[in-house]
Amino acid sequence: MNRGGAEIAEPPLIGGNHDFGSLTTLICRLVERRAPAWWWISLMVCGSAFLMGGLMTAYVISTGIGVWGMNQTIGWAFDITNFVFWVGIGHAGTLISAILFLFRQKWRSSLNRFAEAMTLFAVACAGLFVTIHLGRAWMFWYLIPAPSVNKIFPNFRSPLSWDFAAVATYATVSTLFWYYGLIPDFATLRDRASRWLPQRIYGLLALGWRGSARHWHNYETGYLMLAALATPLVVSVHTIVSFDFATSVIPGWHTTIFPPYFVAGAIFSGLAMVVTLIVPLRVACGLQDVVTIRHLDTLCKLILMTGLLMGYGYTIEAAGAWYSGNPYEGYMAYNRATGPYAWCYWTMITCNVLSPQLFWFRWFRTTPWAMFFISLLVNVGMWFERFVIVVTSLHRDYLPSSWKMFYPTWVDIALLIGGFGLFSTAFLLFLRFVPMVAVSEVKAFLPQADPHAGSNPPARQAESGNGEPGESLWIESSDDDEEAPVHGVLARYGTPGGLLAAAGKVRAAGYQRFDTFSPFPVHEMDRAMGLSRSKVRIFTFVAGLLGVTFGQSLQWFLSASYYPLVTGGKPLNSAEAFVPISFETMVLWATFGTILGMLILNRLPRFYHPLFRGREFGRATDDGFFLAIDADDPAFDPERTAALLEQSGPVSLEVVRGD
């Protein structure tokens, strides 16, 4: 841990004195042990809200949206406010999982899993609200360009079509990205599970993952590709959501600041939600060592930064209204600040611009309950921001004779609560069945994970049996059937450094059909094993190219050839207007391509592998570092291979039989 006196010591990412195994146990505790009382109580409370929301949804769909408080003037209110609010919440998850990954922000690994889950459930809430706001929710499929007997297709020049493509792509890509990150962790849960059903369920979800270095190699490239795809995607989503407003002519909506202002607001609100969730959770789940004060401090700094961006956005809105000289814009700004909804506006300013300023003080950034309180304020403020944008812009437009007020009905309020019920219930179920921190990722940031970490000899000496006589290293094969052919020899090492050195030796001895297995990707293993650059990127590129071609030609064919209908005076082939959807199809296809590429190159799913017969092999997804030499390697010789491995410093050795 002490790396040279000259460097300024960075506080460690993982607190406490954890080793690989204790970290796994700590993170998986909520999944593997009996659920604690707080979990059941929260589930009952949130589940009730969820059930009520479900009933309200059924009521709204069966009765019609006339039960909401909207009217002719205010055609969008709580429905779109909630939609934009929840889509925004989702953005922080992707920021943490993708954008910070590209920026090599290692601290993200303690937060990305649950932030991504937050994204998924927030997008599900957004999907709920945007679907029921259609009125005839069962007709939502009209947005999909699926051939039907109606022989009509969506208008691809409309931001509402773009919105559907963006949100649907975002939901799909976020889910897949989340699942992709979970594959090694599902394998960990599979190997640690002792009951029949969890073994099978986690086993199926893990797709037969066994932590092979060759797999990690493709997996990591795929992860990088997915992060690179999700980064522009997340920016595009709230940009397009803002187009729903900005391309209209309503004062207060028709402004060019909207796209960046929406994206900043989305990340701002999402980060606040991350803080709201993690501050109580890290205590409840005992994860203070994994999500340290340093993590919270960094989150608070990000909230402060995006809060300043919000302040800039609000200022520009008002300044634009003044500078344009447009009386309608001017009145809109005046009406927001002094009209009947002024209290919403000032709530928004107080919560979003003023309250984050407290994060200039270190005390607020390092005191969990204080930042929890501020994050709640930001959540409230961001909800009100969407309300201000949607309702106050609509309620007084060009015609004073149509000016109206919006008052929510009990159904509006119940659905608002129901949305939070859906979100929190899904989140609680996530906590119980999926590790809330990316186990395989955080392990890689332990000091011991560095293969060159020379300063922790106790582990090395204790775990490696170098000095022992050879026979004690061999463990009995678990397979009683001695007649089964030998699959290979499996060696376990105590540290990633030991494994790396052994892999180098085995390769130098001329072996080709060998592989190493570790709970996280070991640095430099690619080079030690002589792996060439992963081909996953080719899958990504080709699929992305096909996706963009598909998107552009689909829209061209349907809009300009098959279903030529002039809308808004735009040309039939409006290539520029087709860009957003082509971009979304590119990201979607490239994501499919990347994941498919990883699976194909790794020959997964493969649920049975002879190595799973290895007695200790389950530790490859927990705290064991394994090297296996295949018996069909041309250089394989029972005597000499065994001798080579005995000299490579393993903790134990095993002959694996089976085919």
Partner: protein, 236 residues
């Protein structure tokens, strides 16, 4: 460093725990592959089935309800040569074509076959038993504002939407009447137009030497036909 030593202490129990039987045997992969292929095939079959069985081409076409009176269009409109308009008086001037009242039947059947057992229901109606309860065959949904007269007077023949009724002993729903089917004609009316006076003529052909499309284009031009393709053309 202390904790790392602890892990060494903990490791023996961990490796005893690791004596687990295989979760998936060799056969599991084969089975899961089969299940995967089966699931994929069912999705493909499901979508194909949906596209075959759900559209009106399947659900509506072929609908031929039994009517309370065994009235044959094939006899009346075909062999006897009655005009469509004799019974469906609204076809040319109303938004609906109209089902004839019993009076229309009795115009002839007071004199012809007046005691045929097949006409029992008509006679009951005529003697004050209420209208004949005909089963409706062709029906557009409530949200479609279909005007029958507009189509007939601009030269859309009966046959284009109802098929060769003059050859049907029992009326069969021959065309799908789906929105896409409507749009086929609205986008290219020239493929179906005929001179307005010929609307009820089942045997009409374009004039000698001209094909339907060219002749249809002439008519389209002549009568200024602009079949609407916008939503509000039919849904108001």
């Amino acid at each position: 460093m202390v904790v790392i030593d602890e892990s060494v202490d903990a490791s023996p129990t961990r490796s005893e725990e690791a004596l687990l039987p295989l979760i998936f045997t060799q056969r599991a992969d084969a089975w899961l592959r089969r299940i995967g292929v089966g699931a994929f095939a069912s999705v493909v079959l499901g979508v194909a089935g949906l596209y075959y069985y759900a559209p009106p081409e399947y659900t509506r076409v072929g609908y031929a309800p039994t009517q309370p009176v065994a009235y044959s269009h094939e006899l009346h409109a075909g062999r006897l040569g009655l005009s469509c308009l004799y019974c469906h008086t609204g076809a040319e001037e109303s938004s609906v074509a109209k089902i004839p009242p019993t009076q229309v039947c009795m115009n002839c059947h007071q004199a012809i076959k007046s005691d045929s057992p097949l006409l029992e229901a008509v006679r009951v109606s005529w003697q004050g038993g209420g209208p004949v309860r005909w089963e409706r065959v062709h029906q557009t949904p409530d949200y479609v504002y279909f005007n029958h007269a507009v189509h007939v007077r601009r030269g859309v023949g009966c046959v284009s939407c109802h098929g060769k009724v003059n050859e049907m002993p029992i009326v069969v729903h021959e065309k799908p009447l789906s929105m896409g089917w409507c749009l086929d004609c609205h986008r290219h009316p020239e493929d179906y137009l005929r001179p307005p006076g010929e609307a009820t003529n089942f045997a009409w052909q374009p004039p000698r030497g001209q094909n339907q499309r060219d002749y249809g284009l002439t008519l389209k031009d002549q009568f200024g036909i602009r079949a609407p393709e916008t939503c509000t053309g039919c849904h108001r």
